[in-house]
Symmetry: C2
Subunit: 364 residues, 2 copies
Amino acid sequence: MYAERLSRTRSRMDELGVDLLLLSVGADLPWLSGYRAMPLERLTMLVVPVEGDATMVVPRLEAPRVVERPEVFHLRSWNETDDPVALVAELAGAPRAVAVGDRTWARFVVELQARLPGARWTAASAVTGALRAVKDPAEVDALRRASAAADRVAAQLQAGDVPVIGRTEAQVSADLGRRLLAEGHAAVNFAIVAAGANAASPHHDPGPRVIGPGEIVLCDFGGTMPDGYCSDITRCVHTGEPPSELCDLYLVLEAAQAAAVDAAVVGTPCEDVDAVARRIITEGGYGEHFIHRTGHGIGLEEHEDPYVVGGNREPLAPGHAFSVEPGIYLDGRFGARIEDIVVATATGPDALNRVPHGLAVVEA
Amino acid sequence: MYAERLSRTRSRMDELGVDLLLLSVGADLPWLSGYRAMPLERLTMLVVPVEGDATMVVPRLEAPRVVERPEVFHLRSWNETDDPVALVAELAGAPRAVAVGDRTWARFVVELQARLPGARWTAASAVTGALRAVKDPAEVDALRRASAAADRVAAQLQAGDVPVIGRTEAQVSADLGRRLLAEGHAAVNFAIVAAGANAASPHHDPGPRVIGPGEIVLCDFGGTMPDGYCSDITRCVHTGEPPSELCDLYLVLEAAQAAAVDAAVVGTPCEDVDAVARRIITEGGYGEHFIHRTGHGIGLEEHEDPYVVGGNREPLAPGHAFSVEPGIYLDGRFGARIEDIVVATATGPDALNRVPHGLAVVEA
């Protein structure tokens, strides 16, 4: 699998005139090598020339973690007082065009640039993004398992099994995180809990605000499974019966989300899926309150290609996996968002999240 | 506080001939502004010219999270279809020398470089590293609270309250993580659990290996407190009575660790602290098995300046906070490490971790 991915990566490097790929922290590295670098100041870097052997440069104390795959890379460890940047530069030779992993730390980029003068630098996603965006069947299964685990937590929330009233947003967030772990995730990436007016802030940081009766509670949570694949789901609940104005808004949002999922047909440009959600929300009178894109790709990263956003004319392909998550935010009052992970398939959009989308009422 | 930090940062920029500082993900940003950027593909960047106003560029949907501090920065939010890199470039003007946050994603660095041709680029730690390394009394208190929280978990481990025998390394790791959260951490950064021969791999990834009787279990764990400051501690336990060879090794390690802590006196070069631990371990016959540096600074980041490593001639100053964590690793057999966080003070080294250093025996 990794050898085949390396081969496709090199074809793409060749097409783009990139003669060196340098991968460090981020998901390109595990996708290509099976190894995830520790996000530390000790450099780990996979050095991939367009032709010839690839080399994984790792700190000596992390070398035992690496499963060497001779068909993909050889291992080269460095000691604490060695200079790993010099080692990478030596392996790099004199490249003309370098693609560097998108999340590689800037400090290594600027040091490498000083050692490899005259090279043109681009982000590695130019090489890997379109390749990684198309999930193979095993990857779709992994995403399905991740979504099912998140669904189990969402179902507990909707059933009222996650106490909400009288607890702080931060407490509910921690509870959702624990439940993600209990349902099989290896790590929690985020658990946004935003109550009442805080729900009008799409990336609200859950805080000490105590949740009371008569409030919407927006919960957007996800994590990474042991195999590296991510979940991401948003559901809203209401403490007690919601007011009719919120019900009206929520019906518009539900219709927009469902229509955008249905529009995610192979061949449709990503921006058209965004436009479907945006049109329905605009027709419902809330256009100016939908202040973000409709979605993002998901896989080994929580956000990756393809992005479901105005301006992205990339047509959906079988195996594209992405979120569909429109939202409506009324500043100072309340907000709502509904999110599923969807896979584009030859037989139509496949929504991996299956829990109901409605505004569940939870009591104390 | 932030205004004063900004003033010192600008003095340092001036000294180094840096006319623009660009900060994104990583700890420089919260240290200087009180705001921590979300590690996502939507760019957050604080643009700090050496003179004139600083501007925080944030995605519109994250703007409500930011507490604006007019004495430090103004806020400038961007919409989903705007180009944040163009916005930063516009605010940047035509800098000659740019310092960019060490952990800023490479994709933004290469895009910004294309927009700011002719500038010289360096890592922001050249500007901020020495400033952030010196903790003020409130920061030392924050580190003390973080260490005390980690100590409580370590004490539970040593008392046998964390079941070890019959569980997998991964299960014990998850348990330690839950306990870090229960003791007040907001996030778990790592919880290495390495049993038997796995303890010879300093950064072992806890896995499905079941821990049995008669094994050393190396536990290195830490997290981030709600105020952003980090903990980091390593203790080893043994399931049942340890063999005499391991006891001998452990006594050497304990002596080396204690001597290195005692050597961490203001004015001593960092590398001399490393040399003290290394000399004792070498004299004990294990020199080639101590394969990493003695320590790293700690604060808003789990690893930061100053590094306690050969080659770092920086003298310790009051307020320097760092780990002292020698280890001995016998390939294929076992390993051990002992780690405390230490603050250099005018009255001598202050070890923040207070739980015993010995090899505690835990039973089933």
